[in-house]
Symmetry: none
Subunit: 197 residues, 4 copies
């Protein structure tokens, strides 16, 4: 039943099916046939909307990255308090948003990272993402710390966030967002406390 203007609908549909497939069987076994079946469409449609499987993977990653960006952006927009601490908290919270700590997203991120080591196009995407977190953190720390201190604080907090996320993802249990945030907040506060010195 062909329709016009199906492109955005089908793309979303296929991206969600990809996340679901990776969640179920892993990226290695997430074949086009499985993804198409989960989406309820034919195999061939994928090359119609994405050039090939890599195109679909890349689009899926961009989807996750956009969701992450939005999570952070929304929280920062809603701040009544413009202090560095408030912004940093918003960034931390955004990184542990429900859109990022569910099974499909975590498994896809993980597989994406592993794959990106050998695919230049994916590696570029991933570096942009990594840099964005560092950059956002550094920017806020810089408002109260020296350049060197801000950079170190940003590096540490970025690593802590990713590490908490990673260990949560690998644990196999449900992600304990509260606990992760408390640990990140504490690190943030310890770094901000250098301000007086």
């Amino acid at each position: 039943m062909p329709k016009v203007g199906m492109q955005p609908i089908r793309r979303q549909q296929l991206i969600h099916a990809t996340l679901e497939a990776v969640d179920q069987v892993g990226m290695g076994d997430a074949s086009i046939a499985l993804i198409a079946r989960l989406a309820g469409v034919s195999n061939g449609i994928i090359s119609h909307y994405f050039q090939d499987k890599n195109g679909l993977i890349a689009a899926t990653m961009r989807h996750l990255m956009a969701a992450l960006s939005e999570s952070v952006f929304d929280r920062r927009l809603a701040l009544s308090d413009d202090s560095p601490r408030a912004h940093l908290q918003a960034i931390i919270e955004g990184n542990f948003d429900a859109s990022q700590v569910n099974g499909p997203a975590m498994k896809t991120w993980l597989a994406f990272w592993a794959t990106s080591m050998h695919q230049p196009s994916l590696h570029r995407l991933q570096r942009i993402n990594d840099h964005r977190l560092y950059s956002n953190l550094c920017c806020q720390f810089r408002r109260v710390l020296s350049l060197d201190d801000a950079r170190n604080a940003a590096r540490g907090l970025a690593a802590l966030i990713d590490g908490l996320w990673l260990r949560g993802a690998l644990s196999g249990d449900a992600f304990d967002t509260e606990q992760a945030q408390q640990i990140a907040y504490e690190y943030m506060d310890l770094q901000l406390a250098k301000q007086a010195s």
Copy 2:
């Protein structure tokens, strides 16, 4: 010309070829044929020494895990100072040992993690590994902190170590061990400083 005692030699040979293959083309494209070629042996020999490909992958992971354990163990054995701080430093240093922060090891760990999400046998291995780091850290923190504080400190430091490692691995550049260790040491000291309170 049949030989005796070839088993350990061949196994090492194949494990190293696996690491090299994953480094070169990623786990997805590390076929048995490639691994055998890199090892300079025939395809068929792999099922002779390992049950199948999964067996080889698992053995490779155990190899990396054993190397990590040894890195930490050796440093702790060489300590003249038995203080918690000295032990924690040794654990941190061991986790950033040269055997862990080189290309092949980092790429294999990453791929291993991604794969482990869908292979119970690998997942078990990976949980043991994760728990060992936490457990070691917690044990030392406990000597000077309350149980809750020690647990939080261990969770945070474990996440920070993994996060530094992860971001280093994904950056594509050479790993800056010095910088990573400084950040981890600082976190360790900030946590140990709670002792007085």
Copy 3:
């Protein structure tokens, strides 16, 4: 905006796009999608004007055959001299007409021949074409030669023309029409010279 009388325009458009596609990528890779793109129309239109891909191929062949017929016909019509030699020269010249010795035409003829071996409908077309050349030649030779001599001369000259054309097409270089014609003229004259005997 529906128009009337589009049929002949569209058909010509698609036949030319087919020749262009075969010239660019060969008949094996001349997909409907490529032909439609080259023609600047949608995929679906092709089945609207031709039953299917075979229909388009057959129409393209008929187009080339018609162009060949016309090349010969025009030259014979323009003759002031009604001698067998003049007619034979016209036939030879017509077969090396610019419409036949350009890249797209030569590649399409070649592909057509190869394909025709396994498609009865194309094979019929091709036999008609082959026979027309022989028949035209034989008819003229007959005016001055015995039946047997005429037939042999016609067979030889037809083969020589096709062979010159074939070797020219396969060479990859631009077709040397002058040289080919001289060789064919010489053969023609040698055959006509039997007249006296």
Copy 4:
């Protein structure tokens, strides 16, 4: 039932199956699956002995070219008479050898020519073949004719041979070797007759 030293046997087996497949359904439909079935082996074996389908096609072409070379070579070796005319006759006969004028060979040559227009590696093979015939003919004509005459005679005879072959192949009927040879011999003699002039 794996054996050692199967390579030459399997390669011959697969080349013959390729010729048979092209004869039956044409090169366009001669799929790997069909060729493997005709050879009585599995699909995968083809990439084991030839890199890919192109490798098999190229090997098949080299097989036909070698057979042609041998046909000519054997006849020239058997000559008791070293005259140019004897050599030229041997070359003509060799080109109409039974190994070249049977259905599978003719259809494969035709398809090969069509394909070679868009595959550099095949085109190179084909040019070598074309040049060999011209070169052999020219060499013999040169013994009795001027350089220009020899070249023209060689060009003409090469074209005549190929043309006779082509028209025979396309006719669909059995190849009339006798008739073709008579026509070629006559052309040869007419050219050699220029010697006195």
